[in-house]
């Protein structure tokens, strides 16, 4: 395999030159955008949370579920309407990290692979992006849970 081979001096020189001249991501401005947009999304989440708590008189668990449901609904709807990718190209991590981004990562492949059928397309490809998050998220929570149980015992 090519990537296992030693790099030739020519390859090393070229890669160094590419790295020097490559246009860079504007990290600072992207961080600021992510901060603002992520903050706005989380503020909306807080608003939904407060509505659930103060108006709908939900208990602590109920509020958490209510907020997650509404935010996922919003993220999924905006994806379906073709808006979320435009928000994403401006916000970067600001719209990827919140739960709305998680909804986007599931709905977008589900929509795209509809043409391959509901079973072999939508259902099979739905978790193509979010799958690793679920696998490692659930996997690590199992490990943490075990450690917690052992420490308590």
């Amino acid at each position: 395999m090519a990537n296992k081979q030693q790099k030739t001096p020519e390859q090393r020189r070229y890669q160094q030159r590419v790295n020097e001249k490559m246009p860079r991501s504007k990290t600072l401005s992207q961080c600021i955008r992510a901060f603002i947009s992520g903050g706005i999304i989380c503020s909306i989440g807080q608003l939904v949370h407060d509505i659930g708590e103060k108006w709908l008189m939900l208990d602590e668990k109920g509020v958490a579920a209510f907020t997650a449901i509404i935010m996922v609904f919003l993220g999924a709807s905006l994806t379906g309407l073709g808006v979320y990718d435009k928000i994403g190209s401006w916000s970067g991590a600001g719209s990827i990290v919140p739960i709305t981004g998680f909804a986007n990562s599931i709905v977008s492949p589900a929509m795209e692979f509809k043409r391959e059928g509901f079973v072999t397309g939508t259902a099979a490809k739905m978790f193509v992006i979010a799958g690793p998050v679920l696998v490692y998220g659930i996997g690590s929570s199992v490990i943490v849970g075990l450690i917690y149980a052992l420490l308590r015992a």
Partner: protein
């Protein structure tokens, strides 16, 4: 020097010289909505209003673009499908389905090609050989790519929100077809002055770039290699060409290409143009420019051929560049092999 070129069919290690050069007699182009709004918008035969073109999938739209580019080129020169002896072409999708399925409709003898984004030059090169060898009197050389099908094959779903890296390029939704004919052809034509006189078969060059979002830099070494081989094989200099056209190096890839040529002692800066830089305007926010085999195919057939026909360009070296990666090879962190094939298009 040109008299030397007439004597044999081959020069140097990689270059073919056509003693009975084929002539480009017609062309057809289809472009997507965004390409239509770009600087070359008015030159395309058909600009799509929406990128599915009335089909129920992008893949179907892409194959329709391939088919219609060929039909458009035939219509313009008033050719019937029986007049084309061989259809050559390809696209970027797995198993080149766009070209294969379009060829099913076109019902012509067909050679499917895969050279990634170098396909347009590859098809002209092989088409030139068929005509020169007398194996065909009329060939159709075609390539197509589609932004949405390429995105879903190589990258993320379209509705997925995220940012592109500054070196990324946008796959062009476009198709281009050149119909070329040999010396025995006596039918109608829309171009009279454009000949495919030589070609240089590229080598696969890989300088170890692994970033699939930096394909311009991955392909630049192949382009520099092919150009150097062409010039040394033919004994020509850059000054013998009005223009050296690369396919889709984009702005950063072009910078690296010019740099590498300078290393080889070739000063190309003022004679180089890249189709990826021509097809979109900077305000269209496409990072480093256009890519895809439809990029060089549509720019050549919509714009450059006209310039040669009108005499604004006398001789060009058209060199389409391909990044020979697959989603699997990228996932396995393999580097990206590049290739560039060149053809000489000139007035006679």
């Amino acid at each position: 020097m040109d008299s030397v070129m007439q004597s044999g069919k081959r020069m140097g290690n990689q270059t073919l010289v056509f003693s009975n050069p084929g002539a480009v007699i017609s062309s057809g182009t289809i472009a997507g909505p965004m390409e239509g709004k770009g600087p070359l918008g008015e030159h395309f035969d058909t600009v799509l209003k929406e990128d599915t073109w009335g089909e129920d999938s992008w893949e179907k739209a892409e194959r329709k673009m391939f088919e219609q580019a060929v039909r458009r080129a035939m219509e313009k020169a008033e050719l019937n499908s029986g007049d084309v002896d061989c259809l050559l072409g390809g696209d970027l999708l797995n198993q080149i389905i766009s070209a294969n399925f379009a060829a099913r409709e076109l019902k012509m003898p067909f050679l499917g090609l895969y050279g990634a984004c170098s396909t347009m030059a590859e098809s002209l090169l092989i088409g030139g050989m068929l005509l020169d060898g007398g194996y065909a009197d009329c060939v159709a050389c075609t390539a197509v790519s589609h932004f949405s099908t390429a995105e879903r094959q190589y990258r993320n779903p379209l509705e997925m929100g995220g940012q592109t890296t500054p070196t990324a390029q946008r796959t062009v939704t476009g198709a281009g077809c050149s119909i070329a004919a040999g010396p025995n052809y006596s039918g109608s034509r829309i171009y009279r002055n454009i000949f495919i006189t030589a070609g240089t078969i590229g080598k696969v060059v890989d300088l170890g770039i692994t970033d699939a979002n930096n394909m311009g830099a991955a392909m630049a070494p192949a382009a520099a290699d092919t150009l150097a081989a062409h010039l040394s094989d033919t004994g020509r200099g850059v000054m013998d060409y009005d223009l050296v056209v690369t396919g889709d190096l984009g702005s950063f890839g072009s910078e690296m290409f010019i740099d590498l040529c300078r290393d080889n002692g070739i000063d190309i800066q003022d004679r180089h143009m890249d189709c990826g830089n021509m097809i979109f305007a900077p305000e269209q926010k496409v990072d480093c420019g256009g890519s895809g085999c439809g990029c060089s195919a549509s720019v050549l057939n919509a714009y450059l051929l006209d310039k040669i026909e009108k005499g604004e360009l006398r001789r060009i070296f058209f060199m389409a560049t391909g990044a020979l990666l697959s989603p699997t090879s990228s996932m396995q962190s393999e580097s990206i092999p590049g290739i560039a094939h060149g053809v000489v298009l000139e007035r006679k």
